[in-house]
Amino acid sequence: MNIDALINGLPGAAAQGLIWGIVAIGIYITYKILDIADLTVDGSLGTGGAVCVMMMLAGYSNGMSLAAAFVIGMVTGLVTGLLNTVMGIPAILAGILTQLGLYSVNLKIMGSRANTPINPNNYDLLVSLRNVKNVPFYENAIFITAVITLVIVAILYLFFGTEFGCTLRATGGSEAMCRAQGVNVEFNKVVGLTISNGLVAFAGGLLAQYQGFADVNMGRGAIVIGLAAVVIGEAIFGRIFSNFALNLIAMSLGSIIYYLVLQVVIWRGLDPQLLKLLSAIIVAIFLAIPYFKGKYFNGVILARHSGSEKGDAENAGN
């Protein structure tokens, strides 16, 4: 358990954290802004990885391949959105259905292989785990992903500040308000899911490059890892950051912290097979906190109301 082993591992953890931070930003859009738990991401992350690697193997440029991953990812979100809004399937189930279907799709994209490597020696990869230290900064995976993250945050910040983007944020706040103000809630949900999965698939493309292969299972548990980043980011930075762009950056920071902590935990000798269990427990605890808080606060509100006018509670549902 020497400290060098830990220090050696940290840059890699940071790079991975940054890439997963993009996933977390995508999940933030659905989970926090739209108030939808979208499980499509477990599939669309792999789709992004598969599309990106296959395109690069076929000779397309790095940029083209990542762009394709983004667009195909958007299509997966679109499918979930349409299942939810047009076919009336609850959002969670719609996401599960798409995710399951994508397992086959991802296999087919990779020519029926569960794992497709891409050799960093033969291809000009944007990010690679070889390039996290002892390289010029502009080749460093940490630097490159950080820049990409900032660009994504800037674009999303601009978008969510527009007339239309603002209604997207309102959709998760109150659907009734949106409908009353003439906002097409269904359309907004589809748009949100589409953007979110585009980002997740893009991150999948980056991740595949980073690790040097695309794998049909690479997205397994993505929703939980992404949520872990979201809840950590909110817990630590939620109070200090009020600006929307900073909130997005908090997701990325949350993800980096998550990976750094994992690195430490592994270094302390935790069996890596237990990592997913650990992640699930962390997320479960963090998700439970607002519930218990909410319970407490609701209690206060009800107490105040029942003092004034009885029957409010019964009527409130009408």
């Binding site: 500040g161 007339e163 308000m177 009527n315």
Partner: protein, 264 residues
């Protein structure tokens, strides 16, 4: 301004829970009418408002707003004609957003939402003025998250949002019922002011008979999905709780199980 023509709505048709919520209901509102709506629990008041707002389509009948047949128009398109305030103060505004953002969304009701970066300086000034008129001190809190406001403040804000872009019709569904009596009275005053200043055609559901009598120029009562009382003009001005109840017994010949709720 509003014409409801023979609408019927049955919930859970063909099941044991079948409920005829609206039964061949017709109602016509003239421009500037401020109509208060009363009736017992389950009389169909909310259902009538929802039919106008387009929450779902009626089984039979038609709805016209300002002469336009909106029966088949989806809710979000119909919204351009309507201002709405709900009973639950938490749902008329988006808690996660700033006061000015909520107002800006309301300001664009009926417009296409573009990719323009928004809230102009001029706009902000006009919000400040309108908020000042509410007299709740919200004009200094444009950037506050709405979730930080009290129920009464949120309901006042919702009211402002409903009228910011003058609607053809204002729909209020027991919008003061969840507030404490003092706040409720204040919001109601505000409602009256906004309705009168903008000469809004209004449908206001209330469980408080005194309010139903004190406000508006017309009072209607629903029972079992039917319109059973419609009092307007001079007669409306001289109503008392007793005279409304007397009229109710006259038309229904029934003892009124729910008059405790009606009397508020």
């Amino acid at each position: 301004m509003l014409e409801i023509k023979n609408i019927s709505k049955t919930f859970n048709a063909g099941t044991i829970n079948e409920k005829r919520a609206l039964d061949n209901l017709s109602l016509k509102l003239d421009e500037g009418d401020f109509v208060t709506v009363i009736g017992g629990n389950g009389a169909g008041k909310s259902t009538m408002l929802n039919a106008v707002a387009g929450v779902w389509k009626p089984d039979l009948g038609q709805v016209f707003i300002g002469g336009v047949d909106v029966t088949k128009m989806p809710e979000h398109k119909r919204a351009k004609f309507l201002g709405r305030v709900f009973q639950d103060p938490m749902i008329g505004t988006a808690a996660n957003m700033q006061i000015e953002e909520n107002l800006a969304i309301a300001m664009r009701r009926g417009n296409r939402r573009t990719l323009k970066w928004f809230i102009t300086k001029k706009e902000r000034e006009s919000y400040r003025e309108k908020l000042a008129e509410l007299g709740l001190g919200l004009e200094d809190r444009l950037k506050s998250k709405v979730g930080l406001l009290s129920g009464g403040q949120r309901q006042a804000l919702t009211l402002l949002m409903a009228s910011l872009k003058t609607p053809k019709l204002l729909l209020l569904d027991e919008h003061t019922a969840a507030l404490d009596p003092k706040t409720a009275a204040k919001v109601l005053e505000l409602t009256d002011k906004i309705v009168n200043e903008n000469k809004l055609t209004t449908l206001m559901i209330t469980h408080n008979m005194n309010d139903a009598i004190a406000y508006g120029n017309r009072l209607i009562m629903l029972s079992d999905g039917k319109l059973i009382l419609d009092i307007k003009g001079e007669e409306k001005k001289h109503l008392t709780v007793e005279s409304v109840l007397a009229k109710f017994y006259e038309v229904s010949g029934d003892s009124f199980a729910d008059d405790s709720t009606l009397l508020g």
